[in-house]
C-alpha cells in the first residue's frame, strides 16, 4: 500500500505520525520495512527525526529551452506557443525566463528551424539513504525557486520502483491543498489526514478531504492530534462525513517537548507502536 499523510493545515503532526508509522512498521519484520518519501520539498523535516545516512544524491529541475541563435530566424513561433510567457522574442533576440518555464517542451517541438534544444535548469536536489531498514528519500527545493511540483514528481519517479508490489510506501505531504499536495497524493492507495481539534484544524481538514476523497477518489482516514484542546468540531464533522478516526494523540507537554528535541513519538511513548501497526492494517482494508 502507498499511503499519503497530509493535513491541510500546517504543523498538525504529519511528520510526527509519518515517522513513527514508518518506525513501527520497520520494527515488525523485514518485509514490512517501508519506503519513506518526504514530499514536503519546501520544508523537508522528516530527516531530522529518521536521521538517514545519505548515500546518493542527484540534482533535479526542469528541461528548459536553449536557443541556437545561428539557426534562429526570430520568427516568434516559440513565444506564440508558450502558455507561460517564459520565452519571448524582442528584435533579434530571444529571451528565456527559467522561473516561468514549466518544461513542457512545446517551443522545442514547434520551432520550425530546430533551433531549440533543452538543458536541465537545476531547482533542487533529491537524496537517498537508509535509516536502519527504512529506505528514505527526500527532495529539497532550492531557496528562491517557486515550483515544488516538478521536484515531488521526480522524487516519486526515483524512489518508487514499478515493481514495488506490497512493500509499504509512506509519503509525507506538504501542508495546503493545492498542486504540491495533489502531486503527492496521485498514485497513492489511501490518504491519512492528521488534524487538530480546533477551528483552524477543522477548516483545513475539510479542504484536504475535498482534495483526497472528492477530487482524487481515495479512501480517507483521520488522526486527531493534540486531542483535548479546542472544541468538538472535528469529531462532529468526521462523524457526519463517515470518516474513521483511527488514532488520537493527546495534548501533552511531554510529547511536544520530545518532538521539539527531534525524538519520534514512539521513542517518547513506545505504546503507540502497536497502535500504529494496527492503524496501517485498518487503512489497508478501507473500502
Amino acid at each position: 500500500m502507498k499511503l499519503a499523510i497530509a493535513s491541510g493545515k500546517g504543523g498538525t503532526g504529519k511528520t510526527t505520525v509519518a515517522v513513527s508509522l514508518a518506525l513501527s512498521l520497520a520494527a515488525t519484520d523485514a518485509a514490512s520495512a517501508p519506503l519513506f518519501l518526504d514530499c514536503d520539498v519546501e520544508e523537508p523535516n522528516a530527516a531530522l527525526f529518521l536521521r538517514p545516512e545519505i548515500t546518493a544524491q542527484r540534482d533535479v529541475g526542469l528541461l528548459i529551452p536553449v536557443v541556437d541563435m545561428v539557426r534562429c530566424t526570430t520568427c516568434g513561433r516559440c513565444a506564440a506557443v508558450c502558455e507561460y510567457h517564459a520565452i519571448t522574442v524582442i528584435g533579434k533576440q530571444v529571451l528565456v525566463f527559467p522561473e516561468l518555464c514549466h518544461g513542457c517542451g512545446s517551443c522545442t517541438r514547434q520551432c520550425p528551424e530546430g533551433a531549440i534544444h533543452e538543458e536541465l535548469n537545476v531547482m533542487g536536489t533529491l537524496e537517498y539513504g537508509r535509516a536502519e531498514t527504512i529506505e528514505f528519500y527526500h527532495g529539497t527545493l532550492n531557496v528562491g525557486e517557486a515550483m515544488a511540483v516538478p521536484i515531488i514528481r521526480q522524487l516519486k519517479a526515483w524512489a518508487i520502483p514499478p515493481d514495488v508490489g506490497d512493500r509499504p510506501v509512506i509519503l509525507d505531504a506538504p501542508p495546503g491543498a493545492s498542486c504540491p499536495v495533489v502531486e503527492t497524493m496521485r498514485g497513492a492507495d489511501a490518504v491519512l489526514l492528521v488534524t487538530e481539534p480546533t477551528p483552524f484544524g477543522l477548516h483545513d481538514l475539510r479542504v484536504a478531504v475535498q482534495v483526497a476523497r472528492d477530487e482524487l477518489g481515495l479512501p480517507v482516514a483521520v488522526v486527531v492530534n493534540r486531542d483535548g484542546i479546542g472544541d468538538g468540531g472535528v469529531d462532529a464533522y468526521c462523524a457526519a462525513e463517515g470518516l474513521p478516526i483511527l488514532l488520537r494523540i493527546p495534548l501533552e507537554r511531554a510529547i511536544a517537548e520530545g518532538i521539539a528535541r527531534g525524538d519520534s513519538l514512539i521513542a517518547i511513548h513506545p505504546e503507540y507502536q502497536t497502535q500504529l501497526v494496527e492503524l496501517w492494517k485498518t487503512i489497508a482494508e478501507l473500502p
Binding site: G10, L48, V143, A148, G176, T198, D204, R261
Partner: protein, 298 residues
C-alpha cells in the same frame, strides 16, 4: 503605507494567531488593511468575524480538453505530455481524456493533435472576497481543492488589498502568509517592506526558519523573528536566538506556550482581546514592530 508580511516556513507555528493579534493592536494607533495570502487554507477570517462585501471568481490557467467525437485515439497527446495528464479512456471508442488535476495547461497536446480534437478552456479555480472586519477591510481567497496557480491568486489578493490601502490612505498592509518557501510564499513576500517570521523552538522550526530567512534575503526584504512557544525547549530556543544574532536578524519577542491561544481561537477572537502572558508579550512585540516598520524602514 508599509507592508508587513507574516511568514514561518514551517506550518502551524502561529502565523495567523500573530497576524490577528497584530491587526487588533495596530488598529489602536493606525489605519490597517488586511490580506490573507494563504489561499489553500485561509484561516484569518475565522478569528476576525468578517462580513463579506464582495465575492469574485478567480480564473486560473487554461487546461486542455479532448473532444471524444473527434479524437482518433492515435495517442500523440499522451506521448508529448510531460505531466502524465493524458490517459486512454476505457469508454467505448477508446478516446483519450485529460486529467484536469494533472494538466498544467501547456497546450503541447493542442499543437500536436493531428485531428485538432483538443481545445484549451479557462478554469474557474477559486474565489476572492472583500470583507469588513472590526480591524479594517480583509482581502482573502479560496483556491478550489487541488487547483494550480495559488501564486497567481495570492498576487491578485495582495494587489487588490494594496489598492484599497492606497485608496483609504491606510498606514499598514498586514499580510498573513502561507507556509513553505515556494510560489505562493514568493508571491506573498513580493513588494513587502518587511517580513516577520514566526518560529518555534523545535528542530523543525529551526530548520525551516533558516530557509525562510534565506528566502527573505534572496529577495532583499528585511526580516525579523518572533519566537512562539518559547519555553517549549530552552535549548532549541537559545540555539535560534544565537542563530538570529549571528545573522543580525532582530528578535522582536518571545511568546510563552499557553493554551489561552487555542482557547481564543475557539472563541473566534484574537488572543490579545484577553489578558495573560501571551497577550502582554504581543503588546510589546507590536511596539517594537511599529518602531522598526515606521521609523527604521522608511
Amino acid at each position: 503605507m508599509k507592508q508587513l508580511v507574516i511568514l514561518s516556513g514551517k506550518g502551524g507555528t502561529g502565523k495567523t494567531t500573530v497576524t490577528a493579534a497584530l491587526a487588533h493592536l495596530a488598529t489602536q494607533d493606525c489605519r490597517v488593511v488586511l490580506a490573507d495570502a494563504d489561499v489553500d487554507a485561509a484561516n484569518l477570517g475565522l478569528v476576525l468575524a468578517p462580513v463579506t462585501e464582495e465575492t469574485h471568481d478567480f480564473t486560473g490557467g487554461r487546461i486542455a480538453g479532448i473532444d471524444p467525437a473527434v479524437c482518433i485515439a492515435c495517442g500523440r497527446c499522451a506521448e508529448v505530455c510531460r505531466f502524465d495528464a493524458v490517459r486512454v479512456c476505457t469508454h467505448p471508442g477508446d478516446a483519450y481524456a485529460v486529467d484536469p488535476l494533472a494538466c498544467e495547461g501547456c497546450a503541447a497536446c493542442v499543437y500536436e493533435c493531428p485531428a485538432h480534437a483538443i481545445t484549451m478552456t479557462p478554469q474557474r479555480a477559486g474565489q476572492w472576497f472583500v470583507a469588513a472586519t472590526r480591524y479594517g477591510p480583509l482581502y482573502h481567497a479560496h483556491l478550489f481543492a487541488g487547483q494550480e496557480n495559488s501564486g497567481k491568486l495570492v498576487t491578485l489578493v495582495k494587489q487588490m488589498a494594496r489598492l484599497r490601502a492606497l485608496d483609504d490612505a491606510a498606514d499598514l498592509l498586514l499580510v498573513d502568509g502561507p507556509p513553505g518557501i515556494g510560489c505562493p510564499v514568493i508571491a506573498a513576500l513580493s513588494g513587502a517592506d518587511m517580513a516577520l517570521i514566526v518560529t518555534e523552538p523545535t528542530v523543525s522550526g529551526a530548520h525551516d526558519l533558516e530557509r525562510a530567512l534565506g528566502l527573505a534575503a534572496h529577495f532583499n526584504i528585511p526580516a525579523m523573528v518572533l519566537l512562539n512557544k518559547a519555553d517549549l525547549s530552552p535549548a532549541q530556543a537559545e540555539a535560534i536566538v544565537a542563530y538570529c544574532a549571528t545573522q543580525s536578524i532582530p528578535l522582536v519577542g518571545r511568546l510563552p506556550y499557553d493554551p489561552a491561544v487555542t482557547e481564543a481561537m475557539a472563541r473566534g477572537e484574537p488572543v490579545t482581546a484577553g489578558n495573560g502572558p501571551v497577550s502582554a508579550a504581543l503588546h510589546e512585540v507590536w511596539m517594537r514592530l511599529r518602531q522598526q516598520i515606521f521609523d527604521n524602514a522608511s
